[in-house]
Every structure is written in C-alpha cells, then in structure tokens.
C-alpha cells in the first residue's frame, strides 16, 4: 500500500512503522521540515541533546539497554561531523543505530553550500552502510532498509542522508515489508562444525567458554541458552568487557572478566585451557595480549556471525559462522542427543586448579580509612545498588576497568560501556539514552572526572527531561589510565595527565538545577551513596578518591596471559621497548 506524502512526513511515518518511540537529536537548517513533522505528532518523543555526539551516544545507550535500534536525528555539515565519533563507537561495538542527517538540497550538493559536508563520504568508513537519498519516492524503502541493515547480521550503525528538497517534495510512501534485498546474513551454523565442537566438548579436559558482546547482541534467548550450556557442562566461563551480564556474575562457573585488566583466574584459564570456545567475541588485542603466546595448547572454536572475525587475529580450529542463539541451540541439541557427555573427572580437576588460582584474590587492594579508594567506592556502590533495577554506563579509563571488576552483572543489557573505540565522553549521554528507555530504573554512569567533562553539556538534557541519571564520578584529578601508563612506561613523567582547573561539581550540578554531592571521607560514603540513590532527579556525585591508585591486575602490552602484574609490586621496566609501542 502506498500513500502520497512529503519526504519529511515519510521519515516520521517510517520511524513509527519501525516501532521507534524515542529519537535523540538536535535541529538545524537542513532538517527543519522533519522537525516540523515531529512537532505535529505525539507518537515519537524527541529528546533534545546539547551536542550531536551526545545524541548518538544516547541512541547507543538506548539500543544496548533494550536490544532495539537507537535513532538519532541531526542536521547537515557540523551536525553530521559531530556524529562521527558516535558512529565509529557503534561500529566497533556492533551497536544497531540509525542516524538521520539533513543535507543541503540536491541541486546545491557539491557547491560548498552553507553547512554542506560530504556526509556519506565522511561516514562511509564508520558506518555499516549509508545512503544519500536523492528522490523522495525512494525515501521510505531506504529508511526501512536502513533498519534492516542496522539490526541484521552483525549489528552496526547506519546513516541516511536526506537533502532538504527531498524532505519538502512529495512522493509515494510504502510501509515496511520483509526485506527483499540481497543482504540476508546466514544465522544457522554449519551442523558439521557444530558436531565437531560437541565432540571436542565431550573430551575436553580443561575447557573454557570465552564469551563476548555477540551473545548480548544475539538477544536474551542467547543468554538463556548460554546459561543452560554452561551449567549443564559445568565448564568455567569468562567474558570480555562487552559481554558482561550474559552469564550471571553469581553463577558458579563464572571466572570474571578476562583481558588486560581481567581477573587472574580468567586469564590463566585462557592460557592453560585445552579447549577454548569463543562465543561472539573477536580476539581483540586487549584480550589476547601477545599473540604468539596466546593460549598455546588449546583447540579453539569460534562462533561469530561475521565471517571476517574468524581467523582475523587468531587461527581457530573449529570456525562456526552463525548467530549465537541459533548456534547454541544446535550445540545443545546435538550434545543432548549424543548423551550429554563430558570428561567429568578431568573437568573437576580443572575446576580445582581454578579454585587454587582464585585464592590469589587478585582484586585485593589496600584500603584506607583516610581516603576513599576507588575500588572501595565501587564495592560500596555494588553493595548498595545491587538489589535495584540497575543499569550501569561508564566513561573510559581506570574507573571503567574497576567498574567491570567490582560491579556484578546478573543479566544482559545492563552494562553499557565503550569497549572497542574507548570513547571518553560516552557514558553520560549513554546514561540518558538508557534512562529514556527505562524511566523507572536506577541508571548510574560510573565516570572519571576527565571523561565526564567531555560531554558535560548533557547536564542540560538531563535537567530538561528530569532524567534521574546518577553521575558517579571517581575524581582523582588525573587522567588516571594515562597517568598509570606514564608511570609504568615513561619514567613517571606525567606529561599533561592532570587538570589544574576542575570545576566545583556540586556547584555545577546546582547551576543546572540538579543535585550535587561531594564525598571525600570513606566513613561518609554509604550515606552519600544512599542520598544519591534516593534523590529523585539527576545527581552529580563527586567522589574524591586516592589520586595515584593503579588499576590491577594488568597484563602489560606485549606480554602473555601468564605474565600478569597483580599489584603495586615492582612495576618498573615491566614493559619492554617492543611492548611500549603498543597501546
């Protein structure tokens, strides 16, 4: 069925037909017709951000906490270029978002018109796909295809660039129908490979599940199936930063996060295992450490929906291309049909070995009665918020790693962090997106003061929409992770890794009509956190923490999993010249 309407109306109609209820955006000359249509309807809420980067991160937060695509709407030129960081962030973390940009009218494209930029050219390498719509008749199909591409296969960001004359002109609108484009990624895994993996599961003596964001992206069914498989086999499981929550932190087979700042037991299990089952992770360099020493004695299986992930970094023995939920379902089916076998005696021995590693207690730290240790702050935050309907976002740096280590996630979609791109300034706008999707939930952005300042203008958004987002800032007056690397690698020459002009965060909160809380004494911490939780509105929590705390455990760059640093013990010279060129 087709209906005639303007391009601007088509955009809003297509969003409605795609089930979109919230759009994050910022108006400008080239999107005014669309904003006019938004004004004339009530089905889609528009959230006015304060910077286009914030709109895209908010859309990411919305997407990651709901599993639905997030939508951002920005104008041409600077609106589009400001969206680039968010698009790249979503590309590296495989987050489904649809970004709509205005463009100068088609007859002015190429003339260096006011606020003209080659948006599809600029965003080609940082989107999964993008389109410049040149006539109104093709606009609705392009919009629907954009949602199809963003959400199918390996999810990712897409962008639709819409010239202003295309928005004004009328054309035929067609409602969404099942996509007929050739882009239809395969979701079922090859049964022969799956059977080979099941055979490996049956005989493995030292197996480990290594899971990632692909499990979360695959949907809640994937997490359920993962839990069933892990608990039925009794194999230990670790996860990347992106995959936290797919398996509950309270589960008995949980090893904790792995990688550069992962847990000792998780990294040693990866190094010593004889069967590694990678589910929806991508052997990122933060995970593998030194490639030629990565898990030298294991058979490796890799389940991924993106064929380019397979054998990209680490050669695997059992490659399975498919959607995690579909593949896990088949694994369970085949494994059960073959009699639910595992080498129980050997796996029990392996679990004993892991128990020994756990005794190292790698997250232990020296607490203080005078200053708040960041780890302590997060332990208290965990304790006081774990019973809440809680969502956590983070910025990037030490606080992010501590949050991953000290906070526990029982369910998927509860943890939103910039993993691949490492975007400082991600967490605050993301928390706004999460709160919009879950108005009654407790949404906390665990932040460092330096990251937080990168998108602090979004306080205006939080205040305007009365979003009770809690900005839990671990304030060490340093770029903590940069400072840590300068200590370890650059002879303690702390080049530009601190700020001498930090704002008074309490006054800053008050200036935006929000609540500010300052806490510097460990004895006051619990009360202060409770005050934050109980306040019905946005809060900036300025938690003054130990300034020189380092984040451990740590696998130094260029080292293997079994060469991790556990604490403040001699850290000088641990990264050799070869490792220091790595990031």
């Amino acid at each position: 069925m087709t209906r005639e309407m303007t391009g601007a109306k088509m955009v809003v109609q297509a969003l409605k037909d795609q089930g979109v209820d919230t759009v994050f955006g910022y108006p400008g000359g080239a999107v005014l017709p669309i904003y006019d249509e938004i004004f004339l309807q009530n089905d889609i809420r528009h959230i006015l951000v304060r910077h286009e980067q914030g709109a895209v991160h908010a859309a990411e937060g919305y997407a990651r906490s709901t599993g639905k695509p997030g939508v951002a709407l920005v104008t041409s030129g600077p609106g589009a270029t400001n969206a680039v960081t968010g698009l790249t962030d979503a590309l590296l973390d495989s987050i489904p978002i649809v970004v709509l940009t205005g463009q100068v009218p088609t007859f002015m494209i190429g003339s260096d018109a006011f606020q003209e930029a080659d948006t599809v050219g600029i965003t080609r390498p940082c989107t999964k796909h993008n389109w410049l719509v040149k006539d109104t008749d093709s606009l609705s199909d392009t919009m629907h295809e954009a949602f199809h591409v963003a959400t199918s296969g390996r999810p990712g960001p897409v962008l639709v660039d819409i010239p202003k004359d295309v928005q004004f002109a009328t054309g035929d609108y067609s409602a969404p129908k099942p996509s007929t484009s050739h882009y239809q990624p395969i979701v079922k895994g090859d049964l022969e490979e799956i059977t080979e993996l099941v055979a490996a599961i049956e005989t493995a003596k030292k197996p480990v599940f290594y899971t990632g964001g692909g499990v979360i992206n695959s949907g809640t069914a994937a997490s359920q199936l993962l839990r069933e498989l892990v608990d039925a086999t009794g194999f230990p499981i670790t996860s990347t930063l992106m995959g936290l929550g797919a398996y509950p932190a309270s589960g008995k087979n949980w090893l904790g996060m792995l990688g550069m700042h992962g847990l000792y037991e998780a990294n040693l299990a990866m190094h010593d295992c004889d069967l590694m089952i990678n589910i929806g992770a991508r052997f990122d360099d933060r995970i593998t450490g030194r490639i030629d020493a990565f898990s030298p004695n294991s058979k490796k299986a890799h389940i991924d929906i993106d064929p380019s992930s397979i054998n990209k970094v680490i050669r695997v023995d059992i490659p399975i291309v498919g959607d995690v939920a579909h593949v896990l379902e088949d694994i369970l089916k085949v494994w059960k049909a073959r009699g639910r076998k595992t080498d129980e005696a050997s796996v029990a021995k392996w679990q004993d070995q892991i128990t020994e590693w756990r005794k190292v207690n790698c997250l232990a730290y020296t607490n203080s009665e005078k200053t708040i240790k960041p780890q302590y702050a997060l332990e208290r935050l965990e304790e006081l918020t774990k019973k809440h309907d809680r969502y956590i976002t983070t910025e990037v740096g030490q606080h992010q790693m501590w949050a991953a280590q000290y906070l526990n996630f029982e369910d998927p979609n509860r943890w939103m962090t910039s993993g691949g791109l490492g975007t400082m300034g991600y967490g605050f706008p993301a928390s706004i997106g999460v709160q919009m999707a879950h108005p009654d939930a407790l949404v906390i952005n665990v932040a460092g003061e330096a990251s937080w300042l990168m998108n602090m203008q979004e306080m205006g958004t939080a205040a305007q929409y009365r979003l009770p987002v809690k900005q839990f800032i671990l304030n060490n007056e340093r770029l903590g992770m940069v400072r840590q690397w300068q200590e370890l690698l650059h002879g303690e020459r702390y080049s530009h890794s601190w700020s001498e002009a930090l704002p008074d965060f309490v006054k800053l909160a008050e200036a935006f009509g929000a609540k500010g809380i300052l806490c510097s004494d460990p004895a006051d911490l619990d009360d202060a956190i409770m005050e934050m939780i109980n306040y019905d509105g946005p809060v900036i929590f300025d938690c003054l923490v130990e300034k020189h705390e380092n984040c451990f455990p740590m696998i130094p760059s260029g080292k293997a999993h079994n060469e991790m640093l556990l604490g403040e013990a001699e850290t000088q010279g641990v990264i050799d010249s070869k490792g220091s060129v790595l990031v």
């Binding site: 050739h182 882009y183 395969i186 090859d190 022969e192 064929p307 380019s308 490659p319 399975i320």
Partner: protein, 186 residues
C-alpha cells in the same frame, strides 16, 4: 547467493581452509567482486583496501548486468594467505556486495588486459616497431607519419613484454585497462 556463501567458506571443506597454516609468503590473487551498481560502491571497496592497509595492483570496474544493475570489479592484490582471506571476508561484509570469488584458488582462470601504446619514431625504428607489433598481434589503431598507436590485448605479462620492447623504439605513452578475468570451464 554466494556473497554470503563466503561464510560457507569458513568451513574447512572450502577454499577457506585449503591452506592449513598461516604462512608469510606473499601471494598474488585475482578477486572478482559482483556489486550492486549504486553510488559510492567503488569508494567502499577502495576505502576498504586503503583503510585496512591492503594492496591493489590492478582494479577494473564496469557494469556487466544492466537490468540487474550489477557491476563486476576485478582486483589483483597481494598478501599473505591470512591477509587474502581477510580481504575476501571484508569484501563480503560490504552491504552492496553480492558475490566474492577468488579466481586464483577457485580454478584455472583467464586473465586479459588491454593496452594502447603510442610509439614515436622514423626510419628503421618505425619499421621494427611495426614488425614486433605483428609478432605480438598488436593492431595499429592510429598512425601519423612519425607515430603509431598500437592496441594490444593479453595477459599482463605479455603487455609488459611488449612495452619493454617498444621502449627503445620510441614508446612515449601507454594506457592500460587493468586486468579482467574469468574462470575457465562451466
């Protein structure tokens, strides 16, 4: 559709895993990519190569199916087997890409390139150029009293050889199309 069958390529029964270990040997592969002929599609393919640091030795593109709006891109590239596999998988990820074929591993293929070559000279050199052109089955497509333009079709090696011979005889300009290639047989 086989663009996504490259995924199929991820099983060990396909070309994907014919070479069991990663080696450091640089290989030269000819890859044919069938793409939807939409604006920017060539930029996507080229951007992939530059963005990820892959080599392009030669690239040709033209629409080959006017009703289906499909273009065929033929790329000659070099890399280790691991890089070649990555290139194919990354090409397969591009949304408007329909099919990716590695003509170097899928079977014997025919490679052809067309060159037009301008040779300027007089006297013996001019006669010798014409004689060599005859041997190479190059045809004269333009002539003045002191120049020829030859048209030559063949494998890239043959064109290289002809150009080398023409250089001392007065080669002043050469234009080459890049490689077009097809698998042999049905």
């Amino acid at each position: 559709m086989s663009a996504l069958h490259i995924k199929k390529g991820a099983t060990r029964h396909s070309a994907y895993n014919l070479r069991p270990t990663f080696s450091d040997v640089q290989e030269r592969h000819t890859i044919a990519v069938l793409v939807e002929n939409e604006p920017g599609v060539l930029a996507r393919v080229i951007g992939l190569f530059s963005g990820r640091g892959y080599n392009i030795e030669s690239l040709t593109v033209a629409e080959v199916d006017h009703t289906g709006h499909l273009s065929r891109i033929t790329i000659v590239t070099t890399g280790t087997p691991q890089v070649i596999e990555q290139i194919k998988a990354q090409l397969g990820r591009i949304v408007p890409v329909h099919e990716v074929h590695d003509l170097t591993v899928e079977g014997a293929s025919v490679e052809r390139e067309l060159a037009i070559i301008k040779v300027v000279g007089a006297g013996d050199k001019r006669v010798e150029a014409l004689r060599l052109a005859d041997i190479f089955r190059a045809s004269v497509v333009d002539s003045t009293l002191n120049s020829f333009i030859f048209e030559l079709t063949g494998a890239p090696d043959k064109i290289d050889a002809f150009a080398d011979l023409m250089r001392p005889l007065g080669l002043v300009e050469i234009a080459r199309t890049g490689v077009a290639a097809l698998l042999r047989g049905d």
